[in-house]
């Protein structure tokens, strides 16, 4: 793990602002780890914000809801931030922003809900891991064995991003209420909240919020990838997730603060996950923002709030600058797992070079999985995937640090992803 330049200044002190509602939203039917949903609506249907529009009968999935009210105008393939093109439901805004019934629950009502019922509400609200991986939350809340520790992840280790920071500053009480629900579902394990030391304001507010609870605040060094589930488990509990396993295996569950806030909203306000905080930043924007965005809003529409461009972006990245995915069009919609959108100018582009490895060992020194990216990629370049496997390629978490530090500017993580996909195809 190493300290990266944070580049969070542009939006660090900005409060969350509600984004203007777009004239239409494009809601992909896959916004989670798992199977693609089937549409639950037809073209021409009138829908309200919060209405179920995508679901499945069985399998690993998370239901999908309309984010604005209006008319379903198309159900077809559209650009998707990480999956190329995926079937999406397009809703034309009717301007009314009418919502499905969202009945608030009192503290007593919430306390009387059974664990099963809580899980059902969370599943029905379509909540997935909002840290980026989009793993359906209800699965993480149904551990196969006893859980002794729950870590609330507020590390936000990716540079540029401040969406979790903004949420922690503004919704600390709600986040802790959500976290208490999670503790109840998990059978009351010890609760931790982990924040990097570059966010003193969030630390102060969260410390205040956990005063009368059993949560322990862990202040972590600001270093990347501190917020990775496995790294966090190590930093907070000094326990390692076994190779090839999940935090479950050692009795640990990790949830991002955004996810837990969504759980709060689902339980206390009966509100499904159809909007979230997204950081829009980068040197090309004249007005970088932390925006509360309806799912399905495209980059193009978001420029209303954070544009116009100061200079033309040369690269647009969904997610953080380390693990995010570069986009080819402005018509990509925000999905549940979108944490930020970064607009890089031409002179900020990182150049990969076609060089051989000089074996300096920097990648080996920094790798948080403690594998050897140099040897893995040398094998991958020659399509010798079994050798790559022997060098533990499957333990790679694709954090990108090896490429970041490489003095020969090799595309290490790109080669690793390529080799992994070839190994999986076998």
């Amino acid at each position: 793990m190493i300290k990266l330049r944070e580049s969070k200044e542009a939006t660090f002190h900005k409060p969350t602002k509600k984004a203007k509602l777009p004239t239409r939203v494009i809601i992909p039917l896959s916004q989670h780890f798992g199977a693609i949903c089937e549409p639950m609506v037809k073209i021409g249907d009138q829908v309200k914000a919060g209405q179920l529009i995508g679901s499945l009968d069985k399998g690993l999935f998370s239901p999908i809801h309309a984010s604005i009210s209006g008319t379903v105008s198309a159900i077809q393939d559209y650009p998707h931030p990480s999956l190329g093109r995926v079937k999406a439901v397009v809703i034309d805004n009717d301007g009314a922003d009418s919502k499905t019934e969202q009945r608030p629950r009192t503290e007593q009502e919430v306390a009387s809900l059974s664990v099963e019922h809580l899980r059902k509400i969370i599943f029905d609200a379509g909540i997935v891991g909002l840290g980026g991986a989009a793993f359906p939350a209800h699965v993480k809340l149904s551990p196969p064995k006893k859980i002794d520790s729950f870590i609330l992840n507020g590390a936000e280790c990716e540079p540029y991003l401040t969406n979790d920071f903004a949420l922690m500053k503004e919704k600390a009480r709600e986040i802790i209420q959500g976290a208490k629900i999670v503790l109840k579902i998990l059978g009351n394990p010890q609760g931790y909240i982990a924040i990097e030391n570059n966010k003193p304001e969030a630390i102060k507010i969260m410390r205040e919020a956990i005063k009368d609870t059993n949560f322990t605040l862990k202040v972590l060094n600001s270093s990347y990838p501190q917020g990775g589930e496995k790294q966090l488990t190590k930093s907070v509990l000094n326990r390692e997730v076994p190779s090839g396993g999940l935090p479950f295996d050692i009795g640990v569950v990790v949830h991002n603060v955004g996810t837990v806030y969504a759980i709060y909203e689902a339980i206390y306000k009966s509100k499904p996950l159809y909007e979230k905080v997204v950081t829009l930043t980068g040197s090309c924007l004249s007005n970088p923002q932390n925006l509360l965005v309806r799912i399905g809003t495209t980059i193009r529409d978001l420029l209303e709030d954070c544009g116009p461009f100061k200079n033309e972006p040369a690269k647009i990245v969904f997610g953080g600058p380390m693990m995010g995915i570069a986009q080819y069009t402005l018509d990509v919609p925000v999905i549940k797992s979108t944490t930020g959108i970064i607009f890089f100018s031409k002179d900020e582009l990182s150049n990969r070079e076609d060089r051989v490895c000089c074996r300096c060992g920097r990648c080996v020194d920094v790798c948080p999985a403690r594998i050897m990216p140099a040897f893995i990629t040398m094998a991958a370049e020659q399509d010798k995937f079994t050798i790559a496997k022997d060098y533990d390629i499957m333990d790679c978490i694709e954090c990108g640090l090896c490429s970041y530090v490489c003095p020969a500017r090799r595309d290490l993580v790109g080669l690793i992803k390529y080799a992994k996909s070839r190994l999986k195809a076998k």
Binding site: L4, R5, S7, T23, P159, K234, E240, V241, P242, S243, R300, D301, L303, G307, P308, E312, P313, A314, K315, V317, P321, M322, G324, I325, A326, Q327, Y328, T329, L330, I342, F344, E348, S350, R355, V356, C358, R359, C360, G361, V364, D365, A369, R370, I371, M372, A374, F375, D392, D395, G400, L401, S403, Y404, V405, P407, R409, D411, V413, G414, K417
Partner: protein, 327 residues
Amino acid sequence: MPNQDLKLNNLVVSSGPHIQVEGDHIIKRMWATLIALIPAGIAGVYIFGLYSLNVIAVSVITAVICESAFQKIFRKKNTILDGSAIITGLLLAYNLPPSAPLWMAALGSFFAVVVGKQLFGGLGFNIFNPALVGRAFLMASWPKYMTYWSNPRWQIDAVTTATPLGIVKEKLSYQLPTYWDLFIGNRGGCIGEVCIIALLIGGVYLLYKRYISWQIPVYYLLTVAILSFVLMGNKLFSGDVLFALLSGGLVLGAFFMATDYVSAPISIKGKTIFAVGCGLLTVVIRKWGGYPEGVSYAILMMNAATPIIDRFARPRKYGALKKRGAK
């Protein structure tokens, strides 16, 4: 809707990460290494006279010409600007006696670049440190020239001398230099190896920039110090540690040749094993070998061991399962 017609046709789509560490580049590292080598060269020329500058120049120019010519003939990308051929030429010259014939410097440089490096596939693929390959070739072919030591130019009473290690090994009648003389380079030896203070300036600069990992020089020198104390005296545990560290090519080797990225292991664990191995072999050769000095052969032998060290000296991966039966 001002953005409705906005089109961006030149968006770059590439795999992450989308940011890059600033100020670190392999070519920058190469040139930094060259800069770090300059003080030792200046000291060498000052000590042994201008002729040794000719040796350095011929070696470097030959290395550059050979690399360019080889890459031209085999239609490979010209890589002269990465500076590695210059480093090879320079390091070879630093490992030659100050009065080495120029043709020999040229031949050694040719062998280092073509056989030691390019025939293996060029930078990144050479198993051995190319400069040391060149030196070993010259040592095997023209041992007489390679062991003809001129005095520092101000010692006019005798033209030739022996290296301090040679004096000890062969029990010669020359006066042994003092520690201070050894430290500043007032003694017989190769052009670039004699002035320890100049080498340390360069070495510390590279350590400070983190261009070389401290494990290699530190463990190498430490191993030599300990083993010399144990073995190199008249009886056990009476060796002259300071003499062992300051004489021969140890400091040059430990900071500038054992640290060569390509021919040393990649992990910290591996580098440590490698450095201890270099130290061990250096002392073994000094004590029992046919030559008074063992640094270059020690490093070459450990270069040969690098692939096997790399195979076994892996970092313990995150979440590695405990060995069965450990419970």
